[in-house]
Structures are given as C-alpha cells and as structure tokens.
C-alpha cells in the first residue's frame, strides 16, 4: 500500500558532549507509523522531552534518523541536492510553534508569502510580482485573511492569531500535501486556539491536506484529529483513533495524562 508518509523503526540518538566521551540520548526509539494517501490529521502528544519535536524535525528532513527509514511518497527523505530539497519542500511544509518568533520582526510579513510563491511555482517558471501576489492572496483566503489585510505590515502590527494564520497560509502556497505543525497553538489564547484548530480541520477537508499535529493540549487533539500517538521517553506507548484512545486510554501513562487534564468545567475545587 502506498503511504504518503511512513516511518519504519526510526531511532534517533543524539550525542551530547565531545567526540568520544559522548553521552548518548535516545530521543526517539524504534518508532513506526504511517500516514495514508487519504488526508488525515495525526496528533502526537506526550510528555515533554519525549521526542515529538525530533520526529517533526526528521519528517521535515532537518535531521536524519540514526536508524530506520522515513519515506515520503515512497521516496526516502534524505537531503541531497538543492533541487531535491526544493522538490521535497514543495510537498512538506512546517507550521512553527510561536507565531511571534516565526517572522523576522524587522521584515514585512508579506515577504515570506511572496518569497515562497516565487520559489515554489507550479509551472516551473518564476512567477512575476503580480502572479506571486495572486498566489499569496489565494492562500490567505484559505485561512480567512486577504492580502490587503497583510500587505506591507510588520509582525508587530498583527495579532498572534493573524500571524499564525499568515504562517499557515505561507505553508499552503506550494500546495503541499503534508503540514507538520509542532505545537502551533501553545502560545495563543483559548479562543484563537480554536480558530486555528478549526482551520486545520477545514484545510484537511477542503484542500485534502494531511497534518501532523504535535501538541500538549489533549482537548484540541481529541477535537480535531483522526489518529493519535501518545509518546513517552522516545517511545510510542499508545496509538489509534484519537477518540477511541482518549475516551478509553489503555496504557497507564495515557491514563495519567488524561487524568491530569484540567477540565474547563467547574468542578468544586478539592
């Protein structure tokens, strides 16, 4: 079966310290999972330091696994030539954690939209300014913004929610098939958080985008994702359909995790 993304027995060992007296840290240990051709949202949750970001980095090709193989569309994710890299980035795009950090405060935000448009055109030709603007605008419309609202603005002139949406719009311009979002909503308030999560759902349905959604927030994971992976100390402790797993977690850690979630309903304090 062809999968969009597949990880088979992926292990990542980080070296800390010098060349010989190194301390080895197994950030990810023998992790395998697949994303099918069908668009889906896969949530990865777990304690901090459990290797979630490392998985994201490997999917994005920023770092190579120590063992095991990652394949995207049947091809190994490995960085070789610039052209290969570019082709890969056209298909897989990241959404970063902190919208305020993701834009250079000294530069206008539209710059990233235009750059992306110019560097990843579909026709192979470098689009001119007007085409680039059209592509940017189209992407912004998907996230509920317009180019007009964004053009010429500096990051500090936009709200966090707007910025995060611009960042997502930018990632949509190459018309990728996979978004990798590492804690994309941890820095925004409760209502914005919902706006972005809802947006993910819409993108999946309307554009057929698959999304790897890494989060601490079990509630949004439950709310939006199709499948879920629960990690601890580099290993997957539980996986399955998001709702099935969270409604009835099996692994003790999953249960502890679920129990620790502070429900946003009023229950008289103990």
């Amino acid at each position: 079966m062809s999968a969009l993304l597949s990880l088979s027995h992926v292990t990542k060992v980080y070296r800390q310290g010098g060349m010989l007296g190194r301390r080895l840290i197994t950030a990810v240990k023998d992790v395998s999972f697949e994303l099918g051709e069908e668009p889906e949202i896969l949530s990865i949750v777990g304690e901090s330091g459990s290797g979630k970001s490392t998985i994201a980095a490997m999917i994005l090709g920023q770092t190579e696994p120590t063992e095991g193989e990652l394949q995207f569309s049947g091809r190994t994710v490995a960085i070789h030539s610039r052209a290969e890299r570019r082709a890969f980035m056209k298909e897989v795009q990241p959404v970063l954690q902190n919208p305020f950090e993701a834009f250079n405060p000294l530069k206008r935000v539209d710059r990233y939209l235009f750059e992306t448009a110019r560097n990843f055109s579909f026709s192979g030709k470098r689009p001119d300014r007007e085409q680039a603007e059209r592509m940017a605008d189209a992407a912004l419309v998907h996230v509920g913004l317009t180019l007009e609202e964004v053009k010429g603005r500096f990051p500090h002139e936009l709200s966090g929610g707007q910025l995060q949406r611009v960042a997502i719009a930018r990632a949509l311009i190459p018309q990728p098939r996979l978004l990798v979002a590492d804690e994309p909503v941890s820095m925004v308030d409760a209502s914005l958080r919902m706006a972005i999560v809802n947006l993910f759902g819409r993108l999946k349905n309307e554009l057929g985008l698959s999304i790897v959604y890494i989060t601490h927030d079990l509630a949004t994971a439950y709310y939006i994702s199709d499948n879920i992976i629960i990690m601890r100390k580099g290993e997957i402790v539980e996986r399955g359909q998001a709702r099935t797993v969270l409604d009835n977690p099996q692994h003790p850690y999953s249960r502890a995790l679920k129990d620790a979630v502070l429900a946003a309903d009023f229950s008289p304090a103990t």
Partner: protein
C-alpha cells in the same frame, strides 16, 4: 525621517550634541575643498604664528596655515578610517555570517583562518608591508592592508550572533520559503547584526586612525598627503611641543576628539533609538 531626527534632537541631548559636533566635522570637510593653499605647499606663510585673527589656528613651523591643513588632514583621515572600516566590515560580515550559519566544516575552516589572522602581530606586519611595497604603498593599499588585518575579532562577534540567529524560527521559516543561503544571510540576518556592526565600526576607526598616526609618528606613511598623523609627524619633527608651538598639535587632537565624541554620541543615541526597549524607556522620561 525628518520627524525622527527632529524628535531625537529635541528629546535626546546626546543626539543633539553629537549632531552639532558632527556638523562641525562635516563643515570642516566641506570647507577643505575651498582651501586657499595647496595642501602640501610649505613656507607660504610666516612660520610659528600663534592663533590670531588672521590665522585662526596659527601657522606651523613649515609656514602652513593650521586651519586649512587641518581641514584637508581631517578629510583624508576620515576617508581613510571609513575606507578601512567599510572594507573590514564587509569581510567580517561575510566570514561571521557564513561561519555562523553554515557551521560544521565551513565554520571550522573559516574560524581557523579568522583566528590565524587575529593572532598575527599587526604592527611588524604593517612595517614589513611598507618595506616590501615601498612606492606602491599608496593610501588605497594601506586601506586594503589595514582592512585585511582589522576584521577578525568582529567576525567572531558576528558569528556568535549568527549562530543564535540560525536557531531562531524565522530562519526555518525562510528556509521553507525556499530562500537561498545568500538571501537568508543578507536579508534576514544582516539587519540583526547591523547594530553590532555599527558599534564595532567606531572601534575599528579609532584603531585604524590610531595606527595611521602611530605609523606616521614612526615615519612610515606617505608624507606628502596631509593626514592627522602627518600633522603630528611634522609637528614632532619640529619639536613643536617643546618649542611652544602647541597649536600645531592641539588642533588635530581637538578635531579627532570632536570627531569621535560626535560619532560616539550619535551612535549611542542611534542605538538607543534602534533598540525599541531603550527607545521606549526614554519616551517615558
């Protein structure tokens, strides 16, 4: 732009003083082009005249008007300092940004070169260059040589910032926007290191101008081009300090001090303006 300058001048004493002092320097440079005397001509005027109505800053023992000498010397020295600073900034930026961003082997190679340049003693090297190049040791050549000696420390500084910029998420964002390394360095990282660049520029100018003066005092530079160093050289060759011709020495020293105070005050207030945190601090005052 105008309102920024106006507000800076109104609110910021340092900026105002710096601006005024800088205006004096610019004024001197502008009038240097209208000098009634050839810059290298000597014995045109009665020597050793103290400052008075006719010769504002007196005359030298070589029969030159100190004021007009000074304007040309200032111009040449400043262009020299700026030239050195400009070229060495470019080198240190390229090395620092590339080493910091690329990391790995590139970083190690660049830093080995960088450190090697840093450890080589500059002074004997400069003198050797004089001996080797002789007549071809023009001002341009000196600028290039000084520039190629004066970048390494700052390159290290820039590299340390570049390393942290590399881990900022906007860099990742740029990479995934398909920007090339050159573009990321020039358009994303460069603006961040500019404040450091400005700050080091002044040190670099003090260093290069001081070096020029030292070389002049030791008799190594082109004696026909009037510079601050040359003025001091000639004053020294005529025992000006001990003979009571103090104005010959005091005038260039005063101008150098004014120049750097102006640069310092301006850079200080500009940095404050540039850094939103300190800018806002001042607003409330």
């Amino acid at each position: 732009m105008f309102t920024i300058v106006r507000d800076l001048a109104r609110q910021n004493m340092e900026f105002l003083c710096g601006l005024l002092l800088f205006a004096v320097i610019v004024g001197l440079i502008v009038v240097s082009y209208f000098s009634p005397y050839g810059a290298t001509d000597i014995y045109l005027l009665p020597p050793d005249m103290p400052p008075d109505g006719e010769y504002w800053l007196g005359t030298t023992s070589r029969g030159q008007d100190v004021f007009w000498q000074l304007t040309t010397a200032l111009r040449n020295t400043l262009f020299f300092g700026i030239g050195v600073a400009f070229i060495s900034r470019i080198i240190s930026l390229v090395v620092g940004l590339v080493a910091g961003y690329a990391g790995g082997a590139v970083d190690r190679v660049l830093m080995a070169i960088n450190d090697s340049v840093m450890v080589i003693p500059q002074f004997p090297l400069l003198i050797l260059f004089y001996f080797v190049l002789k007549d071809s040791m023009t001002w341009t050549a000196l600028i290039v040589i000084m520039a190629s000696l004066g970048w390494s420390y700052d390159a290290r500084l820039i590299r340390s910032v570049a390393i942290s910029l590399k881990t900022r998420s906007f860099t990742t964002q740029s990479v995934y926007s398909g920007m090339s390394m050159r573009k990321i360095l020039v358009e994303e990282h460069l603006p961040y290191v500019l404040p450091i660049v400005f700050a080091t520029t002044m040190n670099n100018m003090i260093w290069s101008i001081g070096m020029e003066i030292t070389l002049s005092v030791l008799g190594f530079t082109d004696i026909e081009t009037p510079t601050m160093g040359m003025m001091i050289y000639w004053a020294n060759a005529h025992s000006a300090l001990i003979s009571g011709i103090w104005w010959w020495v005091a005038a260039p020293v005063a101008v150098i001090v004014v120049l750097f105070l102006a640069l310092f005050l301006l850079s200080m207030s500009m940095n404050e303006y540039n850094d939103p945190r300190s800018r806002l601090n001042r607003m409330g005052s």
